[in-house]
């Protein structure tokens, strides 16, 4: 086994937390069950990793096997990457898409290899209709860097592809081209949508985030009841009860009853003239547009926005710039004067 491959496998296994070690190795399915049982999983991690690497050597693990292990690790730790979304489109009136996964894979790899000889491309099927692609980029003269790969997740017969953030922007056009051609599309555009949570991005672009429907079968309450304790002492009166109910109703109409998709930030790049009610201020009456960047951050941005009005921090209804995020599939905005 190549030294670089051994080193690569060693570093990958070292990243795996002990609690997940067995699960990931089983998913990899490279080391058979009986061999795994001979390994002592209670020793110190470094020694365990050494034992595992020796086993891999004895089984002559290739770069391909190592890349597969890397994909599985990343699948278990999706949130460590930041994911972008690309949207592809076809010409109207095209034939029915007869997507063949094997043809897609070979076409994708062929396009990359034609442009760049030093590239490692690996595939792993996921779910029923998705594929995870791992690409390690090299240059004309240098071998691929296995430690800075790009991942692409693609669901067949959909116009969206999810890619992990890549520092090397120079390879993005080639990647876009390979994706577009291999999946029978014509154009590709990067969406202004980014998050660590792949599932949330999928829910937003596939429009799967609101899955509550009224049927005759469900006895679902149609409205969230106001959480005022109705059995409280009758001597206590709720001030602003009508206003609170209005805020609840407006919030529920805007955000719905469902769990919001998870985003970490929304960014607004403003290039507008400053508008002020007060004349004679420093910023007022300037001809040039004011350039500023506003960023809202949160562990769960949309849930935080949803709770603003009920908490009394903001007026309901919220600005449509905030509430349009899942609908428009954007969390990066550029606002200019019309």
């Amino acid at each position: 086994m190549d030294e670089t491959v051994a080193e690569f496998i060693k570093r990958t296994i070292l990243k795996i937390p002990m609690t997940e070690m067995m699960t990931i190795l089983k998913a990899w399915d490279f080391l058979p069950e009986n061999q795994l049982q001979t390994v002592n999983f209670r020793q110190r991690k470094e020694s365990l990793v050494q034992d595992l690497v020796l086993l891999c050597e004895s089984k002559r693990a290739s770069l391909r096997d190592a890349a597969l292990l890397d994909i599985i690790y990343t699948q278990f730790h999706q949130h460590q990457k930041v994911w972008d979304v690309f949207q592809m489109s076809k010409e109207p009136g095209e034939d029915v898409d007869l997507f063949d996964m094997e043809r897609f894979k070979s076409s994708f790899e062929k396009i990359l290899r034609r442009a760049l000889k030093n590239v490692t491309v690996s595939f792993r099927d996921a779910e029923e209709n998705a594929v995870w692609i791992r690409i390690a980029w090299g240059t004309q003269y240098r071998k691929p860097n296995q430690y800075k790969p790009v991942y692409v997740v693609y669901y067949s017969q959909t116009p969206y592809a999810f890619t992990s953030f890549c520092h090397l922007k120079s390879n993005t056009p080639l990647l876009s081209q390979a994706l577009t051609v291999a999946s029978n599309h014509h154009k590709i555009v990067k969406m202004d949508l980014r998050s660590r949570y792949l599932d949330s991005l999928k829910a937003i672009v596939f429009k799967q985030y609101n899955q509550k429907f009224e049927t005759h079968n469900s006895t679902m309450p149609l409205q969230e009841t106001l959480e005022l304790d109705m059995h409280m002492d009758s001597r206590i009166i709720h001030e602003n009860k009508i206003e609170k109910e209005r805020v609840q109703r407006v919030t529920q109409e805007t955000f719905g009853d469902y769990p919001q998709p998870r985003l970490e930030f929304a960014q607004y790049k403003l290039e507008t003239k400053f508008r002020s009610d007060f004349h004679g201020g420093i910023l007022a009456e300037r001809k040039e547009p004011l350039r500023c960047l506003i960023k809202f951050s949160s562990p769960h941005l949309l849930e935080a926005l949803k709770s603003l009005a009920p908490a009394g921090i903001a007026d309901a209804p919220l600005s449509p710039l905030l509430t349009c995020i899942p609908n428009k599939g954007m969390n990066y905005f550029k606002i200019r004067d019309k």
């Binding site: 034939d95 029915v96 898409d97 007869l98 997507f99 063949d100 996964m101 094997e102 029923e128 209709n129 669901y155 067949s156 017969q157 959909t158 969206y160 672009v205 596939f206 429009k207 799967q208 609101n210 899955q211 429907f213 009224e214 049927t215 005759h216 079968n217 149609l222």
Partner: protein
């Protein structure tokens, strides 16, 4: 003063008395009729009021008697009310059940505050499969609020064509696509699940299940070489393939019996759903076994 002496011995005083009594008599005559009429009026009024009072009293008595009589029949009346309530409740349950059962027709809906939530329940060969929802907002223009249709079903295309002009066609078209997709998916799932023994490798499929590629054998024991099948469903509204390609890679590929088999398999895949094709393989296999035994 002779006449005064003539009239009576009383004289003037007596005459004056006579005149007085005459006058008082005539006054009395004038007064008496008003007093009498007033009296008689009052009398008649009193009489009338008395009669009215008696009448009302009698009526009150009658009503009281009636109430007493009806309260005596109180229990039978109450039970009548209860059974009426039960009947209404039963009807309500019945209606609810009918509304719930509507989904078995494949297309049902429920009014919402915005418009209507349509439920498309798919089925294939008598098996009830997934339900998909489209929540419509009744406004001009008609629009879809949210839905659970998978992203690879061409919902935008269908709604662009029909939603504004012919909503019935929109719903039927969507039903067609979804039912066909559900049927193809069901066939693929069933093949992987129930006939895995016949497959020599993994089943290749895609989101729409409109391209299936697999290698199969007619006998699970695997004495024969496998066939490669490639099924294309170019019409997204059907559950049977439009293109079938069967290839055989055995060493005696040129032999006529294999060619016959290949052709008959192609025909089977064209005309029958997947589980029927493989069930017939299984049955043929049994028949072959039986022939070997005998």
């Amino acid at each position: 003063m002779e006449w005064a002496n003539d009239k009576s011995k009383g004289g003037v005083l007596a005459h004056l008395e006579r005149l007085e009594t005459q006058m008082s008599r005539s006054c009395k005559n004038l007064e008496d009729p008003p007093r009498e009429t007033a009296e008689s009026d009052l009398g008649t009024k009193i009489h009338k009021l008395r009669c009215l009072r008696d009448k009302l009293r009698a009526e009150v008595k009658q009503r009281q008697a009636r109430i007493k009589a009806s309260t005596a029949n109180a229990e039978p009346d109450q039970t009548l009310e209860i059974s009426e309530q039960e009947a209404v409740g039963g009807k309500e349950e019945n209606m609810k059940a009918i509304l719930q059962a509507y989904r078995f027709t494949g297309l049902s809906g429920k009014r919402t505050s915005r418009g209507v939530c349509v439920c498309i329940s798919t089925a294939f060969e008598g098996n009830l499969l997934d339900s998909y929802f489209v929540d419509l907002v009744i406004q001009k223009p008609l629009r879809i609020h949210h839905h659970s249709v998978p992203v690879f079903i061409p919902l935008e295309e269908i709604s662009a064509k029909y939603l504004q002009t012919n909503i019935q066609h929109f719903l039927f078209c969507l039903c067609e696509y979804l039912n066909a997709y559900a049927g193809r998916k069901y066939q693929a799932d069933q093949l992987q699940r129930d006939f895995a023994a016949f497959l020599a490798g993994p089943l290749q499929r895609n989101s729409l299940c409109n391209l299936l590629s697999f290698t199969y054998k007619v006998e699970p024991q695997g004495r024969s070489f496998p066939f490669c099948a490639r099924l294309l469903y170019k019409d997204l509204t059907t559950t049977l393939p439009t293109d079938v390609t069967i290839t055989y890679q055995g060493t005696d590929a040129s032999s006529t019996s294999w060619e016959e088999q290949r052709a008959s398999h192609e025909n089977l895949f064209f005309t029958k759903p997947l589980y029927q094709v493989f069930t017939s393989f299984a049955r043929n296999g049994e028949r072959l076994d039986m022939s070997l035994v005998s």
